[in-house]
């Protein structure tokens, strides 16, 4: 019986140690979300200026730039899946991966070949376990992506988009990422990166702020040529930042649940341990009383 009590106590200690870890991870994630959100905010002036310039250039050019023109027959579609590097973030990675699978199935039904591009070790592990081939993988930055990371991905995607059909060109590029709605809601989303939808009217000019008649230097087409790759990179960067904020929020929530569960478990185990201790005492008393009775009855007989 005393052995049972000892086993309970050992379990309680182990759950307490786990709880300390999950609590620490929760607090770390919570403090880093704020930074991730600040990063999203810090990148918006760039995205806004770029969007404005692209729509100005697009409305003044012939609009047959390869990055905006829809191709007549799409044979290969690239899917960029943004997952996390590390686990312990609840269903974050699996939700993103499931959305990616759904999109891949849809594209295959349309008769397109799917070329996977992966961000994060979790996505890479998912594909490797299923022995699937991937086009490219990037990892090691999912919780705090820098612009260089986005540029690297963007350059590769643009290079593959510009290849010849015989060299494995991709005709469409989709991104699967997790959109950070707020601290409690993050939803996996799919956006088509290329070919781009015409960006006119993305930001409606406010009253008295008409689209100015720009003088383009050297020409509207050349400006658009220079702007569109930057615009693509900026879109990817924004997706990575959103995904990072979502990952941290998912991790915080998962770790909060784990901490709460540990509390619950400790409470339950403490009750059981108390019960076992009381049972030990009761048994001891009844043994003593029983022993004393036996002695007394033996003495009276003698």
């Amino acid at each position: 019986m005393a052995g049972q009590l000892r086993a309970y106590r050992r379990q309680i200690r182990s759950v307490q140690a786990t709880k300390k870890i999950t609590r620490a991870m929760e607090l770390i994630a919570a403090s880093r979300i704020i930074k991730a959100q600040a990063n999203v905010r810090a990148s918006t002036p760039y995205a806004r200026a770029l969007t404005r310039a692209v729509s100005a250039a697009a409305s003044n050019s012939s609009l047959d730039h390869p990055l905006i023109t829809e191709k007549p027959d799409v044979r290969r579609a690239a899917v960029l899946v943004c997952s996390s590097d590390r686990g312990l973030a609840g269903a974050y990675s699996s939700n993103a991966l499931r959305e990616g699978e759904r999109l891949s199935t849809l594209l295959r039904e349309e008769g397109k070949e799917v070329a996977p591009y992966l961000v994060g070790r979790k996505a890479a592990a998912f594909y490797r376990f299923r022995r699937r081939t991937t086009e490219a993988e990037w990892a090691g930055f999912t919780d705090s992506p820098s612009y260089e990371n986005a540029k690297e991905i963007g350059d590769r995607l643009l290079a593959d988009f510009g290849k010849d059909a015989s060299e494995g060109r991709v005709d469409e590029i989709h991104i699967v990422y997790t959109h950070f709605v707020n601290m409690v809601t993050q939803e996996p989303r799919v956006v088509r990166l290329l070919p781009m939808e015409v960006v006119e009217g993305v930001e409606a000019p406010t009253e008295g702020d008409l689209q100015p008649l720009y003088e383009f230097e050297p020409s509207a087409d050349a400006v658009l040529d220079a702007l569109l790759p930057q615009y693509v990179n900026s879109r990817i960067y924004n997706c990575l930042l959103q995904a990072a904020a979502s990952e941290l929020a998912a991790r915080q929530r998962a770790m909060k649940n784990a901490t709460d569960n540990a509390d619950e478990l400790i409470k339950k185990l403490t009750r059981l341990a108390n019960n076992a201790r009381q049972a030990d005492i009761t048994q001891e008393i009844s043994e003593i009383v029983g022993g004393a009775d036996a002695l007394a009855s033996a003495g009276s007989r003698a």
């Binding site: 990148s43 310039a53 230097e217 960067y237």
Partner: protein, 93 residues
């Protein structure tokens, strides 16, 4: 009237404030902007951007290409990376 200038990198806003003059290097050569300039959208080559603030402050920065737009005395300089060089005093944020 002074120019309203904004210098923006991909991951942050580097400098913003009032300026009297902005100089940058486009693909066609250096361009200087002062108040009242016609709207321009120009592609930049890697090089120096010099902003002379109206209050004597200003900034000199190295940009990695990018572009730059002028409309209604509002100048926006956008580059993927911006390195702030010497001769910089704090602008209004």
């Amino acid at each position: 009237m002074a120019l309203q200038v904004e210098l923006v990198a991909a991951d942050r806003s580097v400098w913003s404030g009032d300026a009297s003059r902005v100089r940058a290097r486009t693909v066609d050569g250096d361009i200087g902007i002062m108040s009242g300039h016609e709207p321009v959208l120009a592609v930049l080559v890697p090089g120096e951007v010099v902003i002379t603030g109206s209050g004597g402050d200003g900034i000199t920065a190295q940009v990695s290409g990018g572009f730059f737009s002028v409309d209604h005395d509002k100048v926006t300089i956008v580059a993927e990376t911006v390195e702030v060089g010497a001769g910089t005093s704090a602008g209004t944020r």
